[in-house]
């Protein structure tokens, strides 16, 4: 094959050619090993936001900390040079693509993850400038105490600790100045984005994916939306025995600033590796995460699309604090109905034809596809494996990989007739993110029993102590708030 030659000094111009070439060479054989890697990458994805991660910047040692400070972005021009001209968009794309498609070539993966690593924090002065512009007074006055050292990086901002004038310890996420405008402009170059997606995620329905990613990224640029979503979740889970969501401080939250209560707890890595945590504790934490994801989905019709390991803080007894609501998808009742119907037909009614009809209704399968219903069920069953029967089941990395593998099995006889409609693109995170996370915890539970509690068409009795505590919490809630879809 003849490859591009490149002008002297134009070192980077050929890089893309190789990217594409590798993708083809990688082909299908690599898919198998990519399952969990997607999640690990997301986990590694560098410095993701978590409101109490004091070690994130310093984790690689003092020298690195110093380096980051010296490289800090000092002006809006620095921000534009670092994150402008598509780089911020690529970073966001990488974050999302890591769960949207495991078909990323290793080169694309490396590029996107290195890109995240390449973003230094803002200087204390630049962060203070943003706070001043947003709140009308400098951080030292807007807050009783302001820590100029960021404690964590967010994808398009960073997190500072502060204490409000009424004495609350808070995490303040500050957006890079100019980044929203830059990313919005870059998202306008649809042709280039489409090419990038074709190169990095060749197996996807590029237009649906692109439309969804553009919408999600655009939403993330306005922190007010994130604040609203976080508050919705916080209100919804108010008083929950094990789920907590830090409350928003609305008067200190703006388009480029989210202020929420500072939470505290152990990181995911500590939960997995730390000697202080038993398997029983890990099982409980997993149960809480599972309940959170599916209660939010089935009852509130909302899905937090960023169940990245950095977005949880753990305490004993399965108590989990959920952070970062920058990527929340709200579903309409019409969008939820076929999803629930699929589960019901397959797992409860044992009605394969009904399952298939629901799949077609959702748009996952084209009508009149020339494949037999048993084959459809056989292919799809893996996604429902953990909720087909009652009894304890252990989530494993192997299961998560199998789910991912099936999802991306383009050799399957179903592949030609299967689609992922745009509104459900984000749900792949359940398959690629949640199961991988629970697999890493090696969590055991009666997942079917828990699902029966949550399924709106089943409303099963509590099957675990946590379920009982949750039922008590639900019964205490005002009448009419169960269920309460957040709406659009």
């Amino acid at each position: 094959m003849r490859l591009a030659v490149v002008a002297a000094g134009g070192a980077s111009i050929a890089a893309l050619a190789v990217l594409g070439r590798r993708r083809r060479r990688g082909g299908r054989s690599l898919r198998v090993e990519r399952g969990l890697t997607a999640l690990r990458l997301a986990a590694r994805g560098g410095a993701r936001y978590a409101s109490n991660a004091p070690r994130l910047f310093a984790s690689a040692g003092e020298h690195r900390q110093q380096l980051r400070n010296d490289l800090a972005l000092r002006t809006a021009e620095d921000v534009a040079a670092t994150l402008g001209t598509m780089k911020g968009v690529l970073m966001k794309l990488g974050q999302m693509a890591s769960y949207v498609d495991d078909g990323l070539s290793p080169a694309a993966r490396r590029t996107l993850s290195r890109l995240q690593d390449s973003v230094p924090p803002m200087s204390a002065e630049l962060a203070a400038q943003v706070v001043t512009e947003e709140l009308g007074s400098p951080p030292e006055r807007a807050f009783a105490t302001w820590d100029p050292e960021p404690i964590a990086a967010a994808s398009i901002g960073q997190v500072h600790r502060a204490i409000t004038h009424d004495g609350r310890a808070v995490a303040v996420k500050v957006q890079y100045p100019g980044i929203a405008e830059t990313i919005a402009a870059d998202l306008g170059n649809v042709a280039l984005l489409r090419r990038m997606l074709k190169i990095t995620a060749p197996s996807q329905d590029v237009d649906a994916l692109l439309a969804e990613l553009r919408e999600r990224i655009t939403e993330e640029l306005d922190y007010r939306r994130e604040a609203r979503n976080q508050q919705l979740f916080a209100d919804y889970y108010e008083g929950h025995p094990t789920i907590s969501v830090p409350r928003i401080v609305p008067e200190l939250s703006t388009r480029r600033l989210v202020t929420s209560e500072l939470a505290d707890g152990a990181r995911f890595a500590e939960l997995v590796d730390g000697s202080g945590w038993s398997q029983a504790e890990r099982d409980l934490a997993a149960e809480t995460i599972y309940r959170f994801v599916f209660r939010s989905l089935y009852e509130a019709h909302a899905f937090n699309g960023d169940p990245h390991p950095g977005n949880y803080l753990f305490r004993s007894g399965g108590r989990v604090t959920f952070l970062d609501f920058g990527l929340v998808k709200h579903f309409t009742a019409e969008e939820m109905q076929p999803l629930a119907a699929m589960v019901k037909h397959l797992c409860v009614d044992n009605d394969p034809e009904g399952f298939r009809r629901a799949m077609v209704q959702a748009g996952f399968l084209i009508p009149d596809a020339p494949v037999s219903t048993p084959l459809v069920v056989k292919h799809m069953a893996v996604f429902y494996d953990t909720v087909r029967e009652r009894g304890p089941r252990t989530m494993t990395g192997e299961y998560a990989s199998a789910v991912t593998r099936t999802f991306f099995d383009f050799r399957s006889p179903l592949a030609a007739y299967a689609r992922i409609p745009r509104s459900y693109v984000i749900l792949q995170r359940i398959n690629l993110g949640l199961f991988a996370l629970l697999g890493e915890l090696h969590a055991t539970a009666d997942w079917r029993g828990i699902a029966e509690e949550i399924w709106p068409f089943f409303q099963g009795p509590p099957c675990t102590p946590m379920g009982a505590a949750e039922a008590a919490w639900r019964s205490r809630r005002p009448v009419g708030t169960n269920p309460v879809p957040f709406g659009q």
Partner: protein
């Protein structure tokens, strides 16, 4: 002329990344011939670099003797990427290396040039790679392209900075054996020089073939070819009209602000991919730190 095909280039990105990384010293003895406060360092980091590179080669190839030297003596046809990567590594060493490393690299190139002599089959004229006139041509095309690409697609230099850049860069031509007094060290002098050389320029078959290939390389995937198209358009827009005329390229449509933004976005994508290569981010961070320290 030969019809030997250009061979497939393996390890393309790695070689280019290695070229930059090799040129950025870990523990330099001094700041080299330019230094962290120089305009040269600032321009070398500009987003428009790939356009500058492509434009530079397009202009250089129009000198029949320069083209013949490359075509007849180097690995150009067998390994075009390697040939250009070697030039990249050299330029990086001259730009960022300490004086000893830069001088040593220049000495090596001068020694190679000793053996590059011959007769151009098109014009029938003899050539020698060490000929200051040819070396100056290559130099002038490079610095002119860096300025023009930055003006159109990067961060343009103020006129005074452009003059400073040319004065700074004179040493790189001098290191290869061009007498100082021959080297344009102001924008106005560079214009005069380029105008003066123009009668000697022509598009030889070797130039047409090589550059045709560079602008429209075969074997790239469809999507990548589309990205390449942006780069090619950028280089053609940046070319002087006379150079386009010599090649017989059509004049591109005028550069609208929208088109400029699109091209910058494509350059950003190229830059992101390059940044991901091993050592590139670290090398760039090191340069940024030194530049910041120098500016105080």
């Amino acid at each position: 002329m030969t019809s030997q095909p250009y061979s497939a280039a393996v390890g393309l990105v790695e070689r280019y990344a290695a070229a930059l990384v090799s040129g950025v010293p870990d523990r330099p003895e001094d700041d080299g011939f330019f230094g962290p406060a120089s305009v040269t360092w600032r321009l070398a980091a500009d987003l428009s670099g790939p356009v500058a590179g492509l434009r530079s080669v397009l202009i250089q190839a129009l000198h029949p003797l320069a083209m013949a030297g490359v075509d007849q003596h180097s690995d150009w046809r067998r390994d075009p990427v390697g040939r250009l990567a070697a030039t990249s590594a050299y330029v990086a060493t001259i730009t960022y290396g300490d004086r000893a490393s830069a001088s040593k690299a220049a000495g090596r190139v001068r020694a190679i040039h000793e053996h590059v002599r011959g007769t151009d089959s098109v014009t029938g004229r003899p050539y020698a790679a060490g000929d200051p006139a040819l070396l100056l041509w290559v130099h002038a095309a490079l610095v002119d392209s860096a300025l023009e690409a930055a003006r159109l697609f990067g961060t343009p230099l103020a006129m005074a900075d452009a003059d400073t850049y040319l004065a700074e860069m004179a040493v790189s031509a001098e290191l290869l054996g061009v007498p100082r007094e021959m080297i344009p060290d102001r924008v106005s002098a560079l214009r005069e020089y380029l105008d003066g050389v123009r009668p000697e320029l022509r598009c030889t078959p070797a130039a047409a073939e090589s550059m045709g290939y560079m602008l429209d390389p075969e074997g790239m995937g469809e999507e990548i070819a589309e990205l390449w198209q942006d780069l090619r358009d950028a280089a053609l827009v940046a070319l002087p009209g006379w150079a386009r005329d010599l090649y017989g390229y059509q004049d591109p449509p005028p550069l609208t602000p929208e088109r400029r933004t699109e091209i910058r976005q494509t350059l950003g994508v190229f830059d992101a991919v390059f940044t991901a290569e091993p050592g590139v981010l670290e090398a760039r961070q090191q340069l940024t730190l030194r530049m910041r320290a120098a500016r105080g």
